[in-house]
Symmetry: C2
Subunit: 484 residues, 2 copies
Amino acid sequence: MTENHESHYTENVQEHLQQVQHLLDKHALVETLAHKQEMPRAERHELVDKLLHKQHLAELREKLGSLHSADVAYILEALPIEQRLLVWDLVKADRDGDILIEVSDAVRETLIATMSSDELREAAERLDTDEIADLAPDLPHAVMRDVFKSLSIEEREQLRSAISYPEDAVGALMDFDMVTIREDVTLEVVSRYLRRFDELPDHTDQLFVVDRNDLFKGVLPLHRLLVNEPDVPVAKLMIADTIKLHSNEKAEQAAQAFERYDLVSAPVLDDDGRLVGRVTVNTVVDYIRSESESDVLNLAGLREEEDIFASVWKSAKNRWMWLALNLCTAFFASRVIGGFENTIEKFVALAALMPIVAGIAGNSANQTTTIIVRSLALGQITPANARRLISKELAIGVLNGLVWGGIAGLFAYYLYRNALLGVILTSAMLLNLLLGALAGLLIPLLMHRMGRDPAIGSSVMLTAITDSGGFFIFLGLAALFMSH
Amino acid sequence: MTENHESHYTENVQEHLQQVQHLLDKHALVETLAHKQEMPRAERHELVDKLLHKQHLAELREKLGSLHSADVAYILEALPIEQRLLVWDLVKADRDGDILIEVSDAVRETLIATMSSDELREAAERLDTDEIADLAPDLPHAVMRDVFKSLSIEEREQLRSAISYPEDAVGALMDFDMVTIREDVTLEVVSRYLRRFDELPDHTDQLFVVDRNDLFKGVLPLHRLLVNEPDVPVAKLMIADTIKLHSNEKAEQAAQAFERYDLVSAPVLDDDGRLVGRVTVNTVVDYIRSESESDVLNLAGLREEEDIFASVWKSAKNRWMWLALNLCTAFFASRVIGGFENTIEKFVALAALMPIVAGIAGNSANQTTTIIVRSLALGQITPANARRLISKELAIGVLNGLVWGGIAGLFAYYLYRNALLGVILTSAMLLNLLLGALAGLLIPLLMHRMGRDPAIGSSVMLTAITDSGGFFIFLGLAALFMSH
């Protein structure tokens, strides 16, 4: 990654955010600029420049200039849209590309929307090919065509290959900044070769040994280069038995390999064993973080990461699919209750107790699913132990049914002085907990077998089953045994 | 980390798991051993050895011997308890420590339970001090005392300091394997110094420059050592403006710094600016993964990571707290409904419709909380923009209330041919969505201000509010306007 290594590092970027916000607040022009938001960027820039004699804005520009690109990206994320665009205007144009790479998709969209084709082209051309590939989906076609033309033949090939991989393939995490050497030279020769570089690519912890056809032979860790005498040949020190990633593999596999083996970089080979790129730990960290974030977002039924300052309309759209699905299942559950209106009319206590049956089983089923989804992701569930898990979860269901169902039954008996009602409540909770345990186990297992991500959508199905199932079981039992 | 670098690496550890399971299945002794589970480890070991002439067990031992410690740990996680202990017995004793470090807390407990004090002491003594500190909570006091005695004075100091930090402090992530140099020497001298090492510590991407009092001066990246001429002095090439972590800082801050700046290692200083340790990216990756996992587990109300093969009793205990809390809120909601039994008796349709009001608002509030918790974790929410977020979430609540409440109202009107009922349902949903939006925003903000983790327990409070609130609003409106 082409980064500005001379900018300041900080453990606590939030201090910088507060300083920037303070400067923005002091700067009364914010409101004026907010009105000009619809202006093209160039004009706004002009206006901003005209006002640059204002001290606060100059201070702000200076402050931003001293920050690392990643910190500017962080600050842009945390600012409301009009302040964000003001800050974006003040950032030096030659860092645009680096910053666009760092911000989230939602914020990137708002920034790109204000840039002209020329600005976008210039920003993209300053990036490495693997970074251009990351930006590609957000860039207009015409810009991408121009950028493509500006690249060397080798770079075009890299860009084409980087764009071609699906988001969850190792190829999408890959960069092309590897240093390669031959096995028949000595460390002395390698050292002299390295001294011809101004700078080694970031995260170069090992050199890749290839033959003249780019066939991968092994790696030479920099550590070995440093602790051994200069006259030893590479062939003697290189490690052939090292982790080798393949560009079509799942990215998650690569991430797990980085975690297990504490890697900093790893070679990526094509089907013929040729070295085509490398994956570095910083990309893996970003991948792990974004995967775990989308897990949490998906659990709440959010389709994508949300810019907290996005418009009401945009945020609502992000959340609607889920609410619509839930409304459908709620309508269904409502019709299940509707079918027992006669029974409820006679024993109105049923209406007060039925949410208990549905709620506890829903929570318990959700716990089961969470554990299963996690084990599936780690590949810990095999056909050999699936049956064992089913009996275990059913046993927990019985235990929970007796304990919590028993307590609920006593609660009902105490309130309504009706032993039969208590027994029916306990039985309904027991049965619904078993139903929930089965559903909580089988839904993710089936989704996994069908090749779908079990983390997405499991919970809406679960709730549908434990709600409707709970109402049906409880009201059904009551209709059977209490109507006489 | 002291690792066996000659063992095999693999992208796909699941293949190995399947091979091990296959060997275990072929091996009919598993059942026999399961009965002996209560024997002390030494006796079982003897028994296992006696049976070692059996070909499958020998094959299994060989297979395990060829695997990387991290892969053995992975396989142990994925095996049911009796097979796990059999495999654990077959693993060479000198890798026990490495493997104990790699497995999850729940599985570590099951492994340690089978080991004698001597075995535990030997395993611990083979580890680095920062690793011993990780194991410490699981080791018996007597073992820890013996281990402590076996250490050098410097190591004792390290161990004491590593144990003293809370789990979420930078100090808990720290190791002591840093290579330090002085600023007044040339690269030539540094290179000669490094050649005296057999091996550099893992993740050494930079050397730490200190003065004779251990005061931190800067870092010398290995890259600079490699690309520059030998006669340049360290002082000219070292970077003083680099990230500096502090041992008492929050680990999450350090993790975010690693992500933002793509670090491989970072120095840790004490309050006087003395270098006390370093943090490396592999520890940060583990930290990020375990944090994101506990987020997901906490959302479902699981207290801790669960060994999927733990006993029913143990698993149930892990899940009970949450279910008990939910039962309490369900009882409360039930009493709210109970207060309107007269109204429900007259209009039994209310019973069928009320779960819709509660459910949709609960889901919507949960979405709000998820977004707020994420922004809080990133430090993006400041007093300056909190008010703006409140108006935005309320606006989304109004929009959702009109859209989904409207649809639900039409549904009710269509089913029951009662326009007033439809209007009441729509109004109740609108009001409850607003209540949910407020609760979804304020609960995590308040918990954060009180210094508590907003990800834990927010959802049980939310459900309590949207359930009870929803029933109260809907039934209350109905009682007011439909009783005439």
